[in-house]
């Protein structure tokens, strides 16, 4: 495993919040020294921001009504109670 691969694995653990304190300080230290890994880490963080900024999509109008119309008939006992 090259230095790069090892730290990339740690970066992903970090992004998943699944990292030991030891690895975290190792990563921090390494990022200060290694420009290539710094760039990689930056790109990963940027990718996540991009994903989260992607178009917001809403259900079409009348969606709920449509679902309600297609449900099987209600149990009779409930109708009676109302």
């Amino acid at each position: 495993m090259s230095c790069n691969e090892k730290y990339i694995k740690i970066m992903h653990d970090y992004l998943d919040g699944d990292i030991s304190a030891e690895d975290e300080s190792l990563l921090k230290k390494h990022l200060e020294d290694c420009e290539e890994c710094q760039k990689h880490f930056h790109e990963l963080n940027r990718t996540i921001t991009f994903i989260q900024s992607a178009e917001r999509i809403e259900a079409p109008n009348g969606f709920t009504d449509n679902v309600m119309k297609h449900l099987p008939t209600e149990k009779k006992s409930m109708k009676y109670k109302r």
Partner: protein, 187 residues
């Protein structure tokens, strides 16, 4: 909100159908969006999202109230989208040319062609581009990336929704992030 949904679900279990409309209203955008991102087609997304809610209603008795409803609902929706994708022709691809449309591919049909002035258009273009790049990821990565970053589920919840081991979720999210990093690094 969780408490309200919980209460409504108990009502639904008792046979009160009208309580289900609150559940649908609350989750409709999330579930529709999830289906849309998985399928890349508005018509299919609506169809499958609707089917997911109907299945949830019909099977509500098998839902364990001590668990999270959203996880259960996403699992139904995800399984339905996967079934739908399997039924498509194996060579189906968003880049594939649609017959009789003079070189229009599926992607050009996804998004509105309407142009907006200035910066707004730029940001809209960028969002469409990002959406396109996400849609090009293999579905096993795409579903996890979406559940994690758009729906904000934990890795453990994702493992429940997709019914795959936690270790697999981790591997796939790493690969998915790397694949998207490569696709989006030049933006």
């Amino acid at each position: 909100m969780d408490q309200f949904i919980k209460k409504q679900i108990i009502q639904v279990k008792k046979g009160d159908q009208s309580a289900f409309s609150d559940v649908v209203t609350f989750y409709q955008d999330k579930i529709y969006r999830h289906c849309y991102r998985m399928l890349g087609n508005k018509h299919e997304a609506e169809d499958i999202a609707q089917e997911a809610f109907i299945r949830a209603y019909v099977n509500i008795d098998s839902f364990d109230e001590n668990r999270k409803f959203s996880t259960w609902l996403y699992r139904i929706a995800t399984n339905l989208t996967i079934d739908r994708m399997r039924k498509r022709k194996p060579d189906f691809h968003l880049d594939a040319e649609v017959k009789g449309t003079d070189g229009l591919d599926m992607y050009s049909q996804l998004a509105s062609t309407e142009r907006l002035p200035g910066e707004e258009a730029e940001s809209r273009e960028l969002k469409r581009y990002i959406h396109h790049e996400i849609s090009q990821l293999p579905s096993r990565y795409r579903s996890i990336i979406m559940l994690r970053y758009l729906e904000e589920f934990s890795l453990k919840e994702i493992s429940e929704i997709l019914d795959v081991p936690l270790g697999t979720v981790k591997t796939r999210i790493h690969r998915g992030r790397e694949a998207l990093r490569k696709r989006l690094r030049h933006v």
